[in-house]
Symmetry: C2
Subunit: 188 residues, 2 copies
């Protein structure tokens, strides 16, 4: 099959998430994902390097988005506000796919190796944010501290959002987590 | 050789760090580490599960120390102050071994798989700190946010300390990083 397959990438992702959820990530083969999607293995490998990339392929896009948002923020903005605003802007993209995020998170929570991969992804995002801040002239250690703190806020907000019952609004959770961080680190 | 070997663990650690530094972590075998230390492979495996544990075996001790320090902090102390004080107490233990930490860090910096392991270790410490705070009655998300923020402060402080030329004083770097975090998150 070399003909164009409408929305092959999305169909493969849906099939993979369904199978990982049913049987666990380790037990599922690429052949099974392709079959469930009504596509060939060859089509799978045109879209994803391996079955793990179905879960983590979006992290490059996310990183690019955050780095660009930091680069384009007003010059006068404080570093932490730049990072939080970039994360809030990402929130809107996540809100459209909360059901997808929930299913993905359940798969990751069930597999220690995927949990480690997720931690590495988040640490890489913190490093990328620090790099984007240095590009704006923020020195170290402020740049790294701000990048890591921003990701700490995001992690806590994401966890509440993904498990939440109310309307999906990741921005709101980020704002609340940031307010909480400010309260926690104030005084002393 | 089943006789008692004086300071076998320390000798194996020294030999392993020297070899990892000379030839890269991946290239070194347990047999070579044992030979360099003048000990047998069997003795190696009485002390370490594998060659990676030589670098990461201390993380359980570190975690236990931090969790205990959080548990024993005065009831009236604010969560972030409890965590920072626990990390500062750990600083003294690190100061005695800065040369060792430097050699270990150089080995980790040269190997992406070890870098990932180090990130996972730090994330695990953040989770352990959050758990210890919950035991003190701190609710979520404050407990997780505080644990992660504390580890962000520690990471930045540790990096400056391990690369620093002055007298080894990790507590001082932790204090400075925490002061910087407070300044970064204040206002707005």
């Amino acid at each position: 099959m070399s003909r164009w397959e409408p929305n092959a990438r999305g169909r493969l992702e849906q099939a993979a998430l369904a199978l990982y959820g049913e049987r666990g990530f380790e037990q599922v083969t690429v052949a099974e994902i392709a079959a469930r999607a009504g596509l060939t293995e060859r089509t799978f490998f045109r879209h994803y390097a391996d079955k793990r990339e179905v879960l983590f392929g979006g992290s490059i896009t996310l990183q690019d988005f955050l780095v660009r948002a930091v680069a384009e923020a007003p010059a006068s903005a404080a570093p932490i506000d730049v990072v939080i605003a970039a994360l809030e802007a990402v929130g809107t993209l996540f809100d459209e796919r909360r059901d997808h995020s929930r299913r993905r998170q359940a798969i990751i929570d069930a597999n220690p190796v995927l949990q480690e991969r997720e931690l590495i992804k988040l640490a890489t995002l913190a490093t990328a944010l620090a790099g984007a801040l240095r590009e704006r002239g923020i020195p170290e250690p402020a740049a790294s501290l701000t990048g890591q703190t921003g990701i700490a806020v995001f992690r806590v907000a994401f966890e509440r959002w993904v498990n939440g019952a109310g309307p999906p609004d990741l921005r709101l959770f980020i704002r609340e987590s940031f307010a909480e961080l400010k309260a926690l680190t104030a005084g002393g």
